[in-house]
């Protein structure tokens, strides 16, 4: 068995590490949450965004943690981040299902192009990769000048109204749209360059 410690160090079976010692080293859920809460929230936000239910993100994460506490932390986990992210995504999908049921006749698959539980395991690799891609994006922001960064972070990231950004920059809303497209192209190119270098 290989256990990924929260710090990213992997401990493998070896004469120096007994199975009993590994069992004793099952991490604290609180420590895991402290380490991976951003990843949990991010996957929940990504899941709920298309339905406009991002206000329920905290409920989904909270429900995931409660369900883990009720079941107890398993001892055979290889990737704790994947375990927590999966739990959070399941709860987000449960919320989407509940919302879909409330709006009679609409099906989760129709709205989101994915089934709920069955796809979670397959999605999880992609969801964990989400954190890596967000880091890559943040590293790529240096290609933008100050005004472009305002567009990236405030307009696209924080969804501030285009008119506000236009007023702040002293340009027309149409010019802000041009800048937005330009910013996205610059970031795409920089991220591709960085991916290729790795």
């Amino acid at each position: 068995m290989v256990v990924e410690q929260p710090g990213g160090v992997e401990v493998g079976d070896s004469p120096a590490v007994s199975a009993r010692a590994l069992d004793a080293d099952v991490p604290d859920l609180a420590a895991l949450y402290a380490l991976h809460k951003d990843a949990m929230y991010r996957v929940v936000y990504a899941t709920l965004r298309s339905s406009g239910l991002v206000d329920l993100a905290e409920d989904a994460v909270s429900a995931a943690i409660v369900s883990i506490m009720q079941a107890g932390l398993p001892t055979n986990i290889v990737k704790w981040e994947a375990f927590l992210v999966t739990a959070a995504k399941r709860k987000a999908l449960d919320l989407l299902k509940s919302a879909a049921v409330r709006h009679a006749g609409s099906s989760l698959e129709e709205h989101h192009g994915r089934a709920s539980d069955g796809d979670v395991a397959e999605d999880v690799v992609e969801e964990v990769d989400l954190e890596r891609r967000v880091r890559l994006l943040r590293e790529s922001l240096h290609v933008l000048d100050e005004r472009q960064r305002l567009v990236a972070v405030e307009l696209i990231g924080a969804e501030r109204p285009r008119a506000e950004i236009a007023a702040e920059l002293g340009v027309t809303p149409g010019r802000v749209s041009q800048m937005k497209v330009q910013v996205l192209k610059l970031l795409c190119d920089e991220m591709t360059r960085r991916e290729d270098r790795r």
């Binding site: 994006l137 972070v153 041009q178």
Partner: protein, 229 residues
């Protein structure tokens, strides 16, 4: 296709309310442009996600419930902790190492400061205090300062206090942490207070369910820590 049209397509792709094929078809986007617009939409979504993460610990009710927020009802006592560590025959580096095994990013210097700086000790969250007690083979009460129950009056979770289910949880928490019943009640209420302070008041059943999960998980953890190795 001008920039405003491209912006609209990218936004629609990023928000994912419709399938990408539908968005591209509805906007009559040339096939040669599909890959570029999808890449821009992915980047747009990443930018949005980069601004959406967990709330700070001090505003995070899950963190509070898990004992990640420092709590004056469970403050590490520097002298008592130092005595317990020496009595257990462990160096600060040994404590730090065992905490790291449990997932906590603790340095040797952190442990040293917990013994020498009261402000550092006061910043140790209850979840770490609990693990320290397990490592040292002590009760939480033996390495913490006496809780101040006067703060209970300020806690807004009044309805919960009279609930028989809550009283049962308080009794279990008191046994687990070797606390008096009033102290245990304050400690549990503190774990929930953050939710109420943020204007989200879950009903009593929800709060009891969360607390029951917390108490059960803590009991399980304490039991496994005391099993013979």
């Amino acid at each position: 296709m001008n920039d405003e049209e491209r912006e609209r397509v990218v936004d629609a792709l990023a928000k994912g309310k419709r399938r990408p094929e539908e968005v591209l078809r509805a906007a009559a986007v040339e096939p040669d442009d599909h890959a570029e617009l999808r890449a821009m939409a992915d980047t747009s979504e990443l930018l949005w996600l980069s601004q959406h993460q967990a709330p700070p610990l001090s505003e995070d009710p899950v963190a509070a419930m898990l004992g990640l927020v420092p709590d004056e009802t469970c403050t590490l006592d520097p002298k008592a902790f130092a005595r317990a560590r020496k009595s257990a025959g462990l160096k600060p580096s040994g404590i730090a190492s065992r905490l790291r095994q449990k997932g906590w990013a603790t340095t040797d210097a952190d442990v040293f400061h917990w013994e020498t700086r009261p402000t550092a000790a006061a910043a140790v969250p209850p979840a770490v205090v609990q693990t320290l007690a397990q490592i040292l083979g002590r009760t939480v009460g033996q390495i913490t300062t006496a809780p101040n129950v006067e703060h209970a009056e300020a806690n807004p979770i009044e309805a919960l206090r009279s609930d028989p289910g809550f009283k049962g949880l308080v009794a279990r928490w008191a046994r687990l942490w070797h606390l008096s019943l009033p102290d245990a009640s304050v400690a549990l209420e503190r774990r929930l207070a953050m939710t109420v302070h943020r204007g989200r008041t879950p009903d009593t059943a929800q709060m009891l369910e969360s607390l029951d999960a917390l108490v059960t998980a803590t009991e399980r953890s304490a039991q496994s820590a005391h099993e013979p190795r």
